[in-house]
Symmetry: D3
Subunit: 139 residues, 6 copies
């Protein structure tokens, strides 16, 4: 079993808030992350897949194929977007790094399985000082 990881990046706006709360309540829980006028980040995404090496070409998975899947499924939907307003798979969810990592994992699972690999981990940096890892429901 080998693990291969591809790094991609996207830049997006977001806000942490609950619609049913007042701005004051949101400010108390989420601090400046609740700014109603939005703020944003350069997100860095690491997608790890695992499996056996194909003896024919020495690859676990063709990295160009993996990169295309990540770009089509995640990056094109999120890059230079407002996560709360424009990302279909985040509708109705808090735009926390935790939820982003879980939702990105769920988006990637099917297309990566379809090319014969196993999605092992999604690791998402919001800033250089904090990141979230999600390994799927089993772990």
């Amino acid at each position: 079993m080998v693990y291969i990881t591809r790094k991609e990046t996207f830049n997006a706006a977001h806000r942490l808030f609950k619609a049913e709360w007042t701005d004051e309540e949101n400010l108390k829980v989420f601090g400046k992350c609740s700014n109603p006028n939005w703020h944003g980040h350069n997100y860095t995404l690491f997608v790890t897949v695992c499996g056996e090496v194909n003896p024919c070409n020495g690859f676990l998975v063709n990295l160009k194929t993996l990169s295309k899947i990540i770009n089509k499924t995640v990056i094109e939907k999120m890059d230079h977007k407002n996560i709360n307003l424009e990302v279909d798979f985040m509708k109705g969810k808090m735009a926390s790094t935790e939820n982003l990592a879980i939702s990105i994992f769920e988006q990637l699972e099917e297309p990566i399985t379809a090319i014969g690999a196993n999605l092992y981990c999604v690791k998402l940096f919001e800033t250089e000082n904090n990141y979230v890892e999600y390994f799927g429901k089993a772990k």
Copy 2:
């Protein structure tokens, strides 16, 4: 003459667009950076001051003082903010990295001169792939 540089960071939302243009015109010139729903970045700011070393304490400038000036004058006004809507010194200006670097330089010039140092350069990274440097009107 010695040059000392302090790094600070802020996360903000912005949009490149001209109010007098249609969304289509803005899209043509600014691409996805014109998204009306905003996007954002982790900005990294390097502020360089120059001068002589004080023989008494070995400092060109006390870095804590420099950091406080940068935080009060720039970071607190920009961090977790919408640059177009909320940053007073960017009002009426295109929120490009070029204009941001120039405006941050102008904000810092007076308070840094007031502590007896010379502001030499503001270097601003929008992403790890592009940055702007501004050295003031003289250069």
Copy 3:
């Protein structure tokens, strides 16, 4: 289960040596790390906690709370300190990166459990070329 990681840094002096050995014996085993006049490092600390995401706020743990715990329990005790002479939880221990990672884990375990999260891993870089990971007694 989700894993979230917070990065913090501290700068400290230390020395590797055994009091019951001569300087020559210490030099033989620990090399230049045994310098009786001390040397130091910029340590980089990554603290990973795991658990379920709170559906109410989308957080596994509030990162500000986590950062405060790390700062109060570890950073304030170690930053700009001499690890051998001044850090209470390192008294009587060799100041190796291995022991530092284990001791930092032990310091963090209780206060992190107290906020309802599980301390999963402490990862400590001594330089950019070497780091230690400790996952607790169970692993």
Copy 4:
């Protein structure tokens, strides 16, 4: 149980291709990585060993000893070399990052066991955008 990791680097040329295929077939599968005139990379290698901390010296393993083993067994054979033509342990294998990580692990396993440590993981970056991890046959 503690895990300690050492980083080393090497610069090498390689090519992805199957000798029994035409250049056109190789181009189709491996893209520009199949260039018959070679290309190259700055590889970054992270070697992780695990075990108990020696209470006498606070070390899991002496990092200088570990670094010497990695340099003698891997770096000296690969640095400034052509992986396809000159690296004995890659003869007859596709020079993919996956196969490199596996083969480097196999090279390091015996000498690291000989110093009383356990080789846990080999992590190899080909570029800053992709890396492979291998944990041995058991995982």
Copy 5:
């Protein structure tokens, strides 16, 4: 006057040697960089242009246009190539980082002038431990 910098990368093989020297003579002067079987690097290129900010769009230069010029003029010719054998503008030159930086500058000067900007500096990293800067014939 403002300075804006764009980062691009390419991976290539090369060799330092003089055809009129023996392998032994080349080895003596160039060390392992003269390996007749080639070696390679992940090169990182920073291209800095300077000029006035266009008041209409807030740009010194459109970064997408700059990136396209760098890619068409430099990256496509060098990425996954053998610098000695395949890069037209390096024919007959020693493939040192110094000569690469100068030659890349010369390649970029005309197309960058053609879009109304001034090429200020080419900065080229061969590894993370060494880089060359070239500012043109005037400096």
Copy 6:
């Protein structure tokens, strides 16, 4: 004219204080950097030399020669040392990053001139958040 830069690192202990001041006075001016028990850093040093490219070998200067000079003149004297107590060229000087950069420049100037190159700049990082540049007395 071309500029080539070599990166080296060293780890050292230091303290900012004036012997003629009390600990309280030192604490007031230098804060935690005045800790009488020392603290330390991983310093990162960038040495830039400039000159013409030698048409015979394509080098401004042989980087191995430059690295040897930096190591013999600076790194061996500072690595794993106490800067205040053990570094001959810092005797009687405040161990600030400013003074370190100036003193390292002065140490390197003669041996670099002796190999026919010009020392252009010493850039010294104390942490990833601050660095000093010194270009010699002329600038």
